[in-house]
């Protein structure tokens, strides 16, 4: 067993149990079930996700990891015939609750997709789109936001001289970092990343991984990945999904060095998946 040393500043939190919940946890999933038509894709998911950490979700194709992450900002509802039961609390409020504004949720919870999907607009307009739809029209403020977000996504130096060129002129890796910048522009609380590097070359992947490390200081990040080395490199906690169930969810170090479940071990040692 790993012995965790409780730092003094965390002691108070551990003792005052209730407080700790409200502070440190962004997402609390309770008995989540999800169906695509008759296909039971997520089964009784219970998962708490911590603030300012990188939480990785791994598992073989079709295990429900992408479905789960898309449920967190209710993007899954764009798929017809989706039914859910159970609760996901984001900052203490059930996101399935009647009257919960899905736009408000997605403003707080940004998302980066598997394939870079910039808008067919200029680099500048891509980043400014989010702030603009949320009512920011002042050109000066927009300029600042664009610069800050592009710097935040570590792409500013590469694009600062071509802000008004079409985003589709960028390389795949640059496009993905632009999408991250677009997501940062509305200063979200959580960033969901759905296999953000699966379409990128190794160097671009490395850049995105470094960026994730940088971003976790300010954001809570949940990342779905096919790549177990990636999960091991960048995440604090890892959840292993299999056939729509969470098999194991614990500290990344532990899951890779000493998994408790046989299936987790089989998967991370490459026996299947």
């Amino acid at each position: 067993m790993n012995t965790t040393i409780v730092k003094p500043e965390n002691l108070a939190a551990v003792n005052g149990m209730g407080n700790q919940d409200a502070k440190g946890i962004v997402y609390r999933t309770k008995e989540l079930n999800l169906w695509y038509g008759d296909n039971h894709a997520l089964k009784n998911i219970n998962l708490d996700i911590n603030e300012n950490e990188v939480t990785a979700i791994i598992g073989p194709s079709g295990c429900g990891k992408s479905t789960y992450i898309k449920t967190l900002n209710r993007m899954i509802e764009l798929v017809p015939d989706v039914k859910t039961s159970g609760e996901i609390e984001y900052r203490g409020r059930n996101i399935f609750q009647k009257g919960y504004g899905v736009e408000e949720l997605r403003t707080k919870v940004g998302m980066v997709f598997q394939k870079p999907n910039p808008f067919p607009k200029s680099i500048y307009e891509n980043v400014a789109y989010g702030p603009k739809i949320h009512g920011i029209k002042d050109k000066k403020i927009l300029n600042q936001i664009v610069e800050k977000s592009l710097k935040g996504a570590a792409i500013w130096d590469e694009v600062k001289d071509r802000l008004h060129e079409n985003a589709y002129g960028l390389s795949g890796g640059q496009q993905q970092r632009l999408c991250i910048a677009r997501c940062l522009a509305i200063e979200p609380d959580v960033i969901l990343m759905d296999e953000p590097t699966s379409a990128l070359d190794p160097i671009s992947t490395l850049k995105v991984e470094e960026l994730v490390q940088e971003l976790k200081k300010e954001y809570s990040i949940i990342i779905v990945t096919h790549n177990m080395q990636q999960a091991a490199r960048i995440s604090d906690k890892t959840a292993f999904f299999l056939n729509g169930e969470v098999i194991e969810y614990t500290e990344t170090d532990k899951i890779f060095s000493n998994p408790t479940d046989k299936r987790t071990e089989d998967y991370i040692t490459g026996r299947f998946g």
Binding site: N73, M75, L78, P80, E103, E104, L105, R106, T107, G110, M111, F113, K115, N117, P118, F119, P120, K121, Y129, G130, I133, H134, N166, Y168, C179, R182, C183, I186
Partner: protein, 316 residues
Amino acid sequence: MAIQETSKHVSIKELIEKKKQSKNKYIRSEKIVPFILLLTAIISVLTTIGIVATLLAETFTFFTHVSITEFFTSQKWYPFSETQGSFGILPLISGTLKVALIAAIVAVPIGLASAVFLSEYASDRTRRIVKPILEVLAGIPTIVYGFFALTFVTPILRDIIPALEIFNALSPGIVIGIMITPMIASLSEDAMSSVPKAMREGAYALGATKLEVAMKIVIPAAISGIIASIVLAVSRAIGETMIVAVAGGSTPNLSWDVTSSIQTMTAYIVQVSQGDAGYGTTIYYSIYAVGFTLFIFTLLMNLLAQFISKRFREEY
């Protein structure tokens, strides 16, 4: 086992070899087919060239009877007047443009709104039902629209606007608008639906509402297709013949008045073709000149469409 497998392998090779030997036949058709395809392509090109050449030749003959300046600047179109026949095409152009403009005013907002609804809001089921219906609407013969305008729309309009003449620009304009609405709706919907889903997701993930996604992502990304659909529909309105011939009247006049009887370029051609204008008369040649003007109009529309869609295209 191993032997069996190799023998199988060899037999496949043999089969391919055999096929190769009998290939001469195929090679021949490989050469003949492209030739036939080329021939059919040439036929359509030649036909077009032929039509334009005929138009041009007859138009030139017309201009030996009537000066170009008179044709394009005179404000009177009295081709049948025996004493002082006047061939100024402006009244016909004004008739055509009035009708096309009314049609566009009706069709563009309705067509675009339905396209946005179908591509962004409607369920798959609704779309599957509504789109074919729209396409059927586009297949109704225009003569049916023509008497629909004359016997249904005009009387209703006359209740609202008492000054409206029986033959007028408004009624056929509205009905042509109704006729081209499905075209705009259907083609624009195609353009919007082909905007990648990933782009919409990107906007939704930023907290955009459906309307914001439609207005600021989908329409801009599909704009070249949308403009193409509008231009195509307006060209159709300009070239529309039956509806205006039935419900528009035959009084060419140069004005912006939509309540009085008009004549469009197409309706004039119908009138002369049906009448007994003798071969070789100025009137006979005038339909070619009018036809040629009409052709220039639609050609300009197409060039405009190409220009606009290139100018506003969002590459992705």
